[in-house]
Amino acid sequence: MPVPPPRWQRPRLDLDGRVTLGGGVPAVTLSRAAAGVGATTIELAVGPTQGPVGLAGVYELWGDATAPDSPGSPGSPGSTGPAARPTTSVVTRDAREAPARSRRPVLLAGRDRFDRVAIDLRQVRRLRRLLLVVRRPVGVPMTLPWAGALVVTTHAGARVDVPLEPIGAAPAAAALAIYQVDGELVLRAAARPAGSLREAAQAFGFEAITWLDDHTPLQ
């Protein structure tokens, strides 16, 4: 007898849909149609009063040889099996590619007007999860509340805004968590203040990173 589909689903965003994540809608699924072509880009958009803030992407990636669609494999939807542990590290405007120094990166960080991180959707099943962390330069007074947004856009025209105001004043914060589940991306607003990039990563269980200090991962 066929198993009926789940009766409840979190909100889904199709093609040119648009949503603002927050208390009313904490999470959204980007459908394969919305997230299946080109790239999904996450950009940090802030006003000039925010100063020189930055965006980092803490990630877990499956290796090339992992067979993400094989039933029961470590890369099967949501799996954590030890046979092929994911690579864990950080992309920033200075350490741009993931995997590091890859000619065909799954993640590519950069900067136009603002810092951004792009996900190559042709390789989306290699992504296990991605945590977007906003941060102020070391030594900047921490009394200024965060303002602005992370803006997620897809090639198909879908857009997700993640306001930063709920973070309050903090040196850094986990602003958005992205999980790959069966080829779809689930986006979830985090608004979790942290003392540093390292603290933000550890609050989400990214333990397999070696740190030079609280702000600098060993690449």
């Binding site: 999470a27 954590t80 985090a190």
Partner: protein, 170 residues
């Protein structure tokens, strides 16, 4: 559970305190504020476990906490919160969800992808369990919003029967 029932009856009195008021209930583990705090702690724990939980389990577990938060919200704007709603949130936050997570996280990571002799792998089981829990929590929320007392009671019984101490067969 008993303490919340006692408070609900006290609140029904004409001059009784509001459900979220402080005072004698400060040590009541089932006040809306206490449950909100427990929910926040549970969410942080799910996030910290993100490296070990399947991603499908992480998002389903966080769906459950979202739905529990919405259920809690329905108790804040009424003078006498429905005991069934509070029992459902209490069960989700203090028993069904943490027990399910604890049982999975206690396993040796080297075996979580392997099918068990009597059923699917622990990864498949924990994802199925958490998706079913989100479904059930959504049904409780729908019954609460519809003010359907019979459906709410039935869903409350279903939650307790299916998830009490977790039926994860690991």
């Amino acid at each position: 559970m008993r303490s919340w029932l006692r408070r609900s009856r006290a609140d029904a009195a004409p001059d009784g305190p509001s459900p979220g008021a402080s005072g004698a209930g400060d040590h009541d583990p089932d006040t809306p504020q206490a449950l909100t705090d427990a929910l926040a702690e549970l969410e942080a724990r799910i996030d910290r476990s993100g490296g070990r939980l399947p991603t499908a389990a992480t998002v389903a577990a966080l769906d459950v906490t979202d739905l529990a938060a919405r259920l809690l919200e329905t108790t804040l704007d009424v003078r006498v919160p429905d005991v069934e709603v509070v029992l459902a949130v209490r069960g989700l936050v203090r028993d069904y969800l943490p027990t399910t997570l604890d049982r999975f996280l206690a396993l040796d990571p080297s075996v979580v992808d392997l099918p068990l002799p009597h059923g699917p792998s622990p990864v498949e089981q924990v994802v199925d369990q958490l998706v079913a829990m989100a479904d059930a929590a959504a049904d409780v929320l729908a019954a609460t919003r519809a003010r359907d007392i019979d459906a709410l009671a039935a869903q409350g019984i279903f939650l307790r029967t299916k998830f009490s101490r977790s039926d994860l067969d690991l």
